[in-house]
Amino acid sequence: MEATFYIAGAVAVIATLLVVMSYNLIHALLYLVVSFLAVAVVFFTLGAPFMAALEIIIYAGAIVVLIIFVIMMLNLTYEDVQQEKSWLKPSVWIGPAILSLVLLAELVYLVVAVEAPGTVSVSVEAAAVGMALYGPYMLGVQLCGILLMAGIVGAYHLGRQKKKIVHRFLERRAAS
């Protein structure tokens, strides 16, 4: 089980890195799915199988699909990939990378420096989660509903389209 955790963790990190480094959106999304799957495995090893399932269903399933839909609507082309490439110059990412490394180092230091806690990993079954969710956290669930309502209303208002979006590439071609 431990080995599974570490392997899955490594996969997750690598896949996420690839997400960050790939130029093509679709490729990146695929790597993202991989990453999510790996994290789901991690969840499983940590004794949260229900969450693993949710991770796959909602993150890898719903959210990524949503993004892919939008990408499809936007009709991205090879040119965009090239552009993405040109944006990712070392001069752009070196500064943030250093900053992040500093932050990471600090985080690692802070987390590791913690006096060794118990290393138990008890599986918390879906039932327990459900009991808690619809017990004490009942109001939280209601709030989730409200949150989703806000999201939906917002997305609805902002997403309404009256005019067809024409990609600037097509526009340019039409102009020439």
């Binding site: 500064g95 943030p96 900053l99 992040s100 500093v102 932050l103 600090e106 802070l110």
Partner: protein
Amino acid sequence: MAELLWLIPALPFAGALLLVLLGSRLPRALVTTIGVGSVGISAAVTLLLGIEYLSESPAFYHQVVWNWFNVAGFSPSVAFHLDALSMVFIFVITFVGFLIHVYSTEYMAHDPDYARFFACMNLFVGSMLVLVMADNLLLLYLGWEGVGLCSYLLIGFWYKEKANGYAARKAFIITRVGDTAMAIGLFMLFQTFGTLHIQTISTEAVQVWDTDARMAVIIAFLLLGGAVGKSGQLPLQTWLPDAMAGPTPVSALIHAATMVTAGVYLIARMHVIFELAPGAMMAVAVIGAITLLLAGCAALTQYDLKRVLAYSTISQIGYMFLALGVGAWSAGVFHFMIHAFFKALLFLCAGAIILALHHEQDMRRMGGLQKKLPIVFWTFLIGAASLAAVPLVSAGFYSKDQILWLQLAGENGNIWLYLAGLLGAFITSIYTFRMVFLTFYGESKTHVGHQPTMAIKLPLIILAVLSLVGGFIELPHNFGHVVLFSDFLSPILPTISVVPDFNRYEWMLQLLAAVVSLSGIFIAYLIYLKKPDLRASLHRSETAMAVHRFWHSGWGFDKLYDTLLVRPYVFLAKVNKDDVIDSFYTFLTRLAEAFHDLFSDSQTGLVRNYVMGIVVGAIMILTITIFL
């Protein structure tokens, strides 16, 4: 009669007030009446009071008009104190003042600012009277500054000329320097005595201080500072020659007869303090001696008739200081009185000449006036004789002789001071008669326009008579021994004791003085009338001319002060016109703006950078948690 004391200064003040308020609307005759009349009545009151004073001979008259203010025991009053010393002064001020007012009615007849002139003159007389009658030093200070103001106004009377304004300001500021010293003296007096009441101070000073007490010396020096400023003595004499920019009656009244002698009055008035400070007394004498020599030399080289008289005034006040400095108080005051007569006379004559010659003041363009202005000539001659101390006949001889004599014979006598005085007398007679010869003899160079009428002649004649006979009230004891004047003053001013050994030399010294005076006249006669070659050869000599120029500029004092004080001050002021301190605050705002620009540039509008900002913040926070 003593109740009328307040009237003496009040009348001129009232005149001034009336003229200020209504001046421009009144007819000239009424202005004349108010202007001259107020001083005239004041003189009459003075006369009545004087007669009463002489007959009653009280210690003094005193009248509190009102309590000026009272702060924690400091309560000067507006109160007048009349004793013999003040009597002499108010007599001179009102009478000579009256004569000069009368004279002015003609002299200023055609001036558009006739009313303003008389307003200022009245104000001056009033202030001067307050000065000499004040029973406390603060009131004296009021008069003191008041006359300064009037002096300023009258020097700059013809204000359209820039130079006049400059001279007026110079006079005010320089005298104010002295006043400042005096003010500090007053603070110290108040600190010691808790009052500025003159009589109290005089009685208490002897109890509080030993002779040569440090405080006394310092105070005496500070008061001397005030006196020096007002009286045009070294080193604050430079304003007086320039003060001749004012109308001639002003020069006669203020810058010859009365105001400039305020210093003499102050020292005489505070003689108790000075007696406690021998060092200061010595300083008074030395200042007097040096001033009389320097001013005499400067007078030798002036061409402007009034400037000669101005330097001569400085020089003559030097004599008074000389007298005061050795403790010959009454001699000093006596010379003040006589000087007032003859110097006023000389100025008025000069005024008559100037008026006659269409405001020509340069002696090189005068000459031959002996025939054309006979009355002026004779009265001028009498004045000149008095100034040059022509023996026996002139009042100036007696007053000056007394001073010279007491330099040697007085208990504080000093041979060097005597010699300086003697040399001064010699120079005096030279420049006096240089003036006479250049103006009245030789060929006529300018057309005579205006013949003096009664309003001018009468004051001239009266003053001439006084210049002749004034001396007879105080004659040396080997020579009639009349001591009316010193007797009169003796209750107020201590008499000087004479070293008896000197008595037998007195006649020799008088002879010496007479010879010096006459030889000076003779030399002037030689150079300026008899032997023009001599003069020409002097003019050819380089050294002589250099000395001439140096003396002409009044020993370069003006230039010295200009480079040492005025220019640096003006420079400093001009350089700092925009206030360096302000630039500090400007710098602060610039700093704030610079920071604004810096921060403003950080607001790039790019999300990436904003994210970076958050990350930096997070790193900062984590760093703090690590290291703390």
